[in-house]
């Protein structure tokens, strides 16, 4: 059956539609802007497919409902924005420790504090460095188009099940509110994994336990080592990044999400001016494309990192880049959206340096 369809929808709606297409039937959340279209869409459409939409009393309750539904073996999801994601970190830490799959969407706001709903990439550290307490990582996917909001949501559920880990979609209001045409369904179906660890009542088997308390030093070490080895496997197998016009480039621009999307325009303009710029766009922020950055910076020494924040992903670039690379950072604080012209200006400045 070909259920492929094309729709003009915004990024938040694309995520919600993808969740249903991925077989997610349990969604728990608390209202916050600028992700409101996700709960609005799912409150309307999840019941149509026999799913459960529950508006929880708090962000903390909603992530713990996700924890429960995931422990029960279901594909479950929540979505929020900056301050709400901060509150969910407790549950995320537990779910990482419990090895429970789920999809968490952060349509981020400007922060810190209450911030605002304008464009921001200020949650990069929180998303990629653990966020909650303890030694863990979650997979972080960074779409830069409405189509990718759809595609990466489906991929996110699959990755979550495969590795038994929470997966986060990290986007912002630019991507959440923007409308583009999206091809939905019709592609390779998401394959739900058999969850023999799920809590279903112990009929015909011995009881299962999902927990994160390890008072015994040896067992605690063993559990943390197991998690670490999983993150190493993820780092080895799951890196996704887009390389665009890099072959002949003199300068590589590295950006993710909405910043990358805007920078593409700057790169096109620069090319028209004869400046050879290419782009490396991390799509997985954890696992970060360390090796790809290292490889490309070995050949092309000038790197320009552009972010809609005051410098977060640039730290991962600096760790990854080859010793001889010259890394320049341009960050625009959360609030006013990056403009293609200002990025172009930075590209030209970098190229002038190259010339000197």
């Amino acid at each position: 059956m070909n259920d492929s369809r094309k729709r003009l929808i915004n990024g938040n709606q694309a995520i919600a539609a993808a969740a249903i297409d991925a077989g997610c039937r349990y969604y728990f959340s608390y209202p916050i802007t600028p992700q409101s279209e996700i709960p609005e869409y799912l409150s309307l459409h999840l019941p149509e497919v026999g799913g459960t939409f529950l508006q929880a009393e708090s962000e903390i309750a909603s992530i713990n409902m996700v924890l429960g539904a995931s422990a029960a073996g279901a594909r479950a999801m929540t979505s929020s924005s900056g301050p709400g994601i901060s509150l969910k970190q407790e549950g995320l830490s537990y779910m990482a420790a419990d090895e429970l799959p789920a999809l968490i969407v952060n349509i981020s706001r400007t922060g810190p504090g209450l911030g605002g709903i304008a464009a921001s990439q200020g949650d990069y550290f929180q998303a990629t460095k653990g966020g909650g307490h303890g030694d863990y990582r979650i997979i972080v996917l960074a779409p830069s188009s409405v189509q990718e909001m759809y595609d990466l949501t489906i991929k996110g559920f699959d990755l979550a099940d495969t590795y038994r880990t929470p997966v986060m979609i990290l986007a912002d209001s630019v991507l959440g509110q923007m409308k583009e045409s999206v091809v939905m369904g019709g592609r390779k179906k998401s394959t739900p994994t058999k969850k023999d660890w799920a809590l279903t009542g112990c009929e015909g088997r011995s009881p299962s336990i999902i927990k994160s308390l390890y008072l015994d030093g040896d067992k605690s070490s063993e559990h943390n080592r197991k998690l670490f080895e999983k993150y190493q496997r993820i780092q080895k197998n799951e890196v996704i990044c887009e390389l665009n016009r890099c072959k002949d480039a003199d300068l590589i621009l590295i950006a993710f999400g909405s910043a990358a999307r805007i920078a593409k325009t700057s790169i096109e303009t620069a090319r028209e001016k004869g400046i050879k710029v290419g782009m490396l766009r991390p799509i997985t922020l954890f696992p970060f494309p360390n090796q790809q950055v290292r490889d490309i910076s070995t050949n092309i020494k000038d790197i320009l990192v552009v972010e809609q924040n005051t410098g977060q992903m640039v730290e991962d670039v600096l760790i990854s880049a080859s010793e001889n690379a010259r890394v320049t950072f341009y960050g625009k604080p959360s609030g006013n959206v990056l403009e293609a012209e200002e990025i172009l200006c930075q590209i030209e400045r970098c190229m002038n340096k190259v010339g000197t």
């Binding site: 349990y26 728990f28 459960t52 529950l54 929880a56 009393e57 708090s58 903390i60 309750a61 909603s62 713990n64 409902m65 996700v66 924890l67 429960g68 539904a69 995931s70 422990a71 029960a72 073996g73 279901a74 479950a76 407790e90 549950g91 537990y94 419990d98 809590l199 279903t200 009542g201 112990c202 009929e203 015909g204 009881p207 299962s208 336990i209 999902i210 927990k211 994160s212 308390l213």
Partner: protein, 250 residues
């Protein structure tokens, strides 16, 4: 002679970690007896909370999920929404349920989630060393109320059953004690009733159990029994606060 009292099958054959004279063990046993009685062991999923009751998974021979501190009703909600035909119960202490988890318990009750919550009220944070709980009695000395709890600054002991009983989502709310055999037998009936409510899809059921913590009360187990009678019950009366009628089966 016939055996009239034995270990319930839903309890694993292991010793409790609880301190001597702690009532947690009695309450565990009564919950296990209810599960046995209703023959629901293999369809029950327990939710462990944080505190002395965290080791629920070591004692109950059922599936168990650990919840973050105070979040057991939210985790139970997630589990139950997926498995509507399973029996889901949470087992929480007073710090867990009545302080950090106040929001989760009130809203799970108000939604009428078809789960059962067993609430152990021993007027103190047990596992962390006897700090003041929301249920600590006025004047009670704890490690964080060294001069005794005062309503000025510390507030009054929280009456959770009375609060929850105002909510339409609750099918059953009762407070019991286990400090003498008669109270234990009554508690057994109430806990069984709470589980029956869930089996009959009646909505949220709740039993508060007044429990002794001799270690943190700095009392002998026998004096702790008397304290439940003399100090706790007059303030926390034993009562069925709310009970919906289970309709006769057709």
């Amino acid at each position: 002679m016939k055996q009239v009292f034995k270990r319930p099958e839903s309890l694993r054959d292991v010793s409790f970690h609880f301190c001597p004279g702690c009532h947690h063990g009695i309450i565990h046993r009564l919950v296990a007896e209810a599960i046995d009685r209703l023959r629901i062991r293999t369809k029950t999923i327990g939710i462990a909370s944080v505190g002395c009751s965290v080791f629920l998974y070591d004692y109950f021979d059922t599936d168990v999920c650990e919840a973050p501190h105070g979040r057991a009703p939210a985790v139970a909600t997630g589990v139950k929404r997926v498995h509507k035909d399973r029996i889901v119960f949470a087992f929480q202490g007073d710090g867990d349920l009545a302080a950090i988890g106040t929001s989760e318990i009130i809203h799970a009750a108000n939604r009428g989630e078809n789960i059962t919550v067993i609430f152990v009220n021993n007027t103190v944070y047990g596992m962390t060393g006897g700090q003041m709980a929301p249920t600590t009695m006025l004047g009670q000395h704890t490690t964080t109320t060294p001069r005794g709890r005062s309503f000025l600054g510390d507030g009054y002991p929280l009456k959770v059953s009375e609060l929850l009983a105002t909510l339409e989502g609750c099918s059953f709310v009762a407070r019991v004690a286990v400090n003498n055999p008669a109270n234990v037998r009554r508690a057994r009936k109430m806990i069984l009733k709470a589980f029956e409510m869930q089996v009959n899809n009646m909505g949220f059921s709740f039993v508060e159990v007044l429990s002794a913590c001799p270690t943190n009360w700095k009392m002998t187990p026998l004096d702790a029994l008397k304290r439940v009678d003399n100090e706790l019950i007059p303030y926390f009366p034993l009562k069925v606060f709310r009970e919906k009628t289970i309709p006769d089966k057709l």
